[in-house]
């Protein structure tokens, strides 16, 4: 339906002082800092609301997920920003939190022989097997580079951490956080953001009014704070309507997928243990194992966009990853407690949008704060939230409006901080991976030790420009004719091509044990507890089905973390809203562009993970 044909819907509108989008570590930092200064000791407003005179500032935060505890992250963090906000931070007050006690960087060799390893890596593997002391098919590097260290840091469950922060912010009584309420779009007038529009409720899959139709309300605010993560709908809306700074573009992503595993009681891994791994299941895939208190461990992988596999299904890789002998000795016999997946915006400074404009500001991952060199996002996100809150408080105390010029105070704080300094070092640190894994690792070290002055490789292409063809990727492993035959078979059966190709390449079939090695759909149910409320429109839309039919890769299907996007016999993908975990991988993997936009539209929606342990 064209815009001209869309029926006019009467929408209610409310005015608040500050409207916030997304509740994660960045918004936690913002609201924690802000809420501490909104009331005087006697309970009277320290800063009066302009929309409700006499009342405290009206601050409202809308979170898409059904609970503020349903966030996903690794996560090990140096927590410099968090400790600055909470000088007496006590990890024992937060379930699953532990101080980092030990860190190792481990190179995992391929005990199966099915991964695609370059000649250089094969030689290195051979030398290691002959000369080095291996431990369960792995080589523990003698030291962990300083830039990777999480010294004095913490292992966190972001779900539990968000709950802890949210509970304190809400207890202040001056901030309202509303989960389960997706924000559909930004209200943009004459280049200024004037608030947000919530999504329509009581609609069918296509967004047409249905039983209980409730048009999304307009929340008008003097300041809109956007912290909606790597694939947030409002961030992308603002970027598409107001543009990006010249030369900046988000081109690098990764898909992170993790299990939370209950370890066997006899497993001797101390809480606070951190393992960073690389080399397996494919050389391009990084992994981690973090040990929480209570015999739990977070174990996961990152599948980067520069991994040029045209059929990259993370779940299968994760299953092989946990079975690597170096990890399996700890994980075998464990029990799946949780599962989750998320995208990571890995462009950093190169993907930085306008940090602030008329009536709005961006914080956290959606503002390009994630540091790919140090493998850190939570600390940076929290700190950017704090920086914005300090600037906002300063402006309000001075009675100044939230104009682009005034919000420069936020940008100045950020530019002068360690977040910016480290982001500059990291800016080109991963460019070497465009050439190869070994070059990439060398490039990271070079960038780190030269303070970002030196790097290897060039500016990365977009994810879809980086993909190899099936023939190229599987050259030497599977004959082209066989690839084509498998492609046809999978299309006819509407099954995963990646699984078929992995089997053919020698990856062993996964034998379910009903406890930890479970089917992908069981991981959704037992681990992620995935569900979606009725009455919302599909948030993944294929704009032109014919384009999808013609698409050669169907990468949205293969990359979908939850099998929510599946093949159909008609050739176009199907989308099942009830399975989606909002990782957003489909949004950056769609190779088909229509009128300058990806053919797959990923918008705001409700539901997703219901596990609070990720």
């Amino acid at each position: 339906m064209s815009t001209a044909e869309q029926p006019i819907v009467e929408r209610a509108s409310i005015d608040v002082d500050i409207a916030c989008v997304g509740f994660g570590p960045a918004m936690g930092g913002f609201l924690t800092t802000l809420s501490r200064k909104l009331l005087n000791d006697d309970g009277t407003p320290a800063i009066e609301s302009s929309v409700m005179p006499g009342m405290p500032l009206q601050v409202i935060c809308y979170e898409r997920a059904d609970d503020i505890g349903f966030g996903v992250s690794g996560a090990v963090t140096r927590a410099r920003g968090i400790r600055a906000s909470f000088p007496d931070f006590d990890p024992t007050q937060i379930p699953l939190a532990a101080a980092v006690t030990s860190e190792k960087l481990v190179y995992l060799l391929d005990p199966i022989g099915a991964s695609r390893r370059s000649r250089t890596l094969r030689i290195a593997d051979s030398l290691l097997r002959k000369l080095a002391k291996l431990d369960h098919e792995a080589f523990e590097l003698p030291y962990t580079p300083g830039f990777l260290h999480k010294k004095d840091g913490y292992i966190l469950s972001i779900g539990q951490f968000n709950q802890w922060v949210g509970s304190q912010v809400m207890s202040s009584g001056v901030v309202q956080i509303w989960p389960g309420m997706p924000v559909g779009e930004a209200l943009i007038e004459n280049g200024a953001v004037r608030g947000v529009r919530l999504v329509d409720q009581g609609v069918d899959r296509s967004g047409n009014p249905d039983a209980g139709f409730t048009p999304g309300m307009d929340i008008r605010a003097a300041l809109t704070v956007v912290g909606d993560g790597p694939v947030g709908a409002i961030s992308r809306d603002i970027d598409s309507k107001l543009g990006m700074p010249p030369g900046n573009e988000v081109r690098e992503w990764a898909l992170g997928m993790k299990f939370v595993i209950e370890l066997r009681p006899e497993v001797d891994l101390q809480p606070g243990t951190v393992l960073h791994t690389f080399g397996f299941p494919e050389p391009e895939i990084f992994g981690f194992l973090y040990v929480h208190p209570g015999g739990l461990a977070s174990v996961g992988i990152f599948v980067p966009s520069w991994f040029n596999c045209p059929v990259r299904t993370s779940y299968r890789y994760l299953q092989h990853y946990i079975q690597h002998p170096y990890l399996w000795r700890y994980l075998e016999g464990g029990k799946l407690r949780s599962w989750g997946a998320k995208s990571l915006q890995e462009s950093g400074k190169r993907g930085e949008p306008f940090l602030a404009g008329e009536g709005y500001a961006r914080i956290g991952e959606c503002s390009g704060s994630t540091n790919v060199l140090t493998g850190s996002g939570v600390d940076e996100a929290w700190t950017t939230g704090v920086q914005l809150a300090e600037a906002v408080l300063e402006l309000m105390q001075a009675g100044k409006p939230f104009t682009r010029e005034n919000l420069v105070r936020y940008e100045q704080r950020r530019r002068a901080s360690w977040v910016e300094k480290e982001a500059r070092v990291a800016e080109k640190s991963r460019d070497g991976f465009q050439v190869g894994v070994v070059t990439g690792m060398m490039g990271m070290a070079l960038a780190a030790f030269s303070n970002g002055k030196l790097s290897l490789g060039g500016k990365p292409p977009k994810p879809c420009e980086h993909l190899a063809s099936l023939a190229q990727f599987y050259r030497g492993k599977v004959e082209l004719a066989e690839v084509v035959a498998l492609e046809k078979q999978c299309a006819a059966k509407t099954t995963s091509l990646h699984d078929a190709l992995m089997n053919r390449c020698g990856w062993p079939q996964i034998v379910p044990d009903g406890s930890l090695l479970v089917s992908h759909q069981d991981a959704l149910l037992l681990g992620g507890k995935v569900q979606a409320p009725a009455g919302y429109a599909d948030h993944v839309v294929f704009r032109d089905i014919e384009v999808c039919r013609r698409c050669g890769t169907k990468l949205c299907v293969e990359m979908c973390s939850a099998q929510a996007i599946t093949r159909s016999l008609e050739g176009a993908p199907n989308f099942d809203r009830e399975k989606c975990v909002f990782c957003g991988a489909c949004s950056w993997n769609c190779p088909e562009m229509v009128s300058g936009q990806p053919n797959l539209q990923f918008t705001a929606g409700a539901g997703g993970l219901h596990s609070a342990e990720n």
Binding site: D67, M170, I177, S611, E613
Partner: protein
Amino acid sequence: MSNPFHVVVCASVVPDPLQTLEPIAGPSGPGLKNEMMLPAILDPWAAHALYEGAHLVKQVDGSKLWLVSMAPKAKLQQVMMTVAQKVPLQLVAIDGPSGGFVDAHQTAITLANAIRKIDGLDLSRLLLFGGWESASRSAGVTLQLVGEQLGIVDQFQGVDSFKPQDNGSFEVLERIEGARHQVSVCTGPPAVLGWATGNLGEPPNNPQVGMANMRLIMPALQRATAASVSPDGLRYGSVITPKQQRETKIVKDKTADEIAQEIAQWIGQE
């Protein structure tokens, strides 16, 4: 209609569906492993009662609605972030256990005492709403016991419909066997109504309702008094969660009939 109702909904807080529940023996009796970490929701049965209560209050001028809930304060706050967006309500918060292992009699006394203390509540106009059943591990008798504590003799369970009449009476449909309803007409409040599912869907989230509610909810949470419920006199012989059996296998090249037959056989083994 000039016979306003004072609707009090009793609702507990339970783990979000699909969470893995594992009973453990704690120092003060049985509990669930990592219960405080589990995301929580308002008991779905009682949530229906809340939506029906809000609908009724909207229909009958002068009526009022309170939600009385006992749970750890942090959990209540978490649940209210969702529930308060749904319907206008006044919260009476009681800081206490919500695990479903507390003696139903003691819980009922606590709830009844809290209800008696509600400012502006006219017990003669009281409709005590709650869930007919509960998604917690409770015995499912708490609502009835609260009614008894308050001296309410008209009690209805498995309610699907409540229709107020002009003369102050109301018609109630209760579920009975054979997928049928028993129709009763009650001359007026006070009464206890344990709701089944009712006929109303979950209301959409309404930011205006949320904002209005939260101005009262946060003070109510701050005022929440600690409940003095203890396991005295109650001992559990054993605690198990409902049996769940999950077997996963990959089935290919089978017809739907063959798969159905195999599932039927599997069920028959139980």
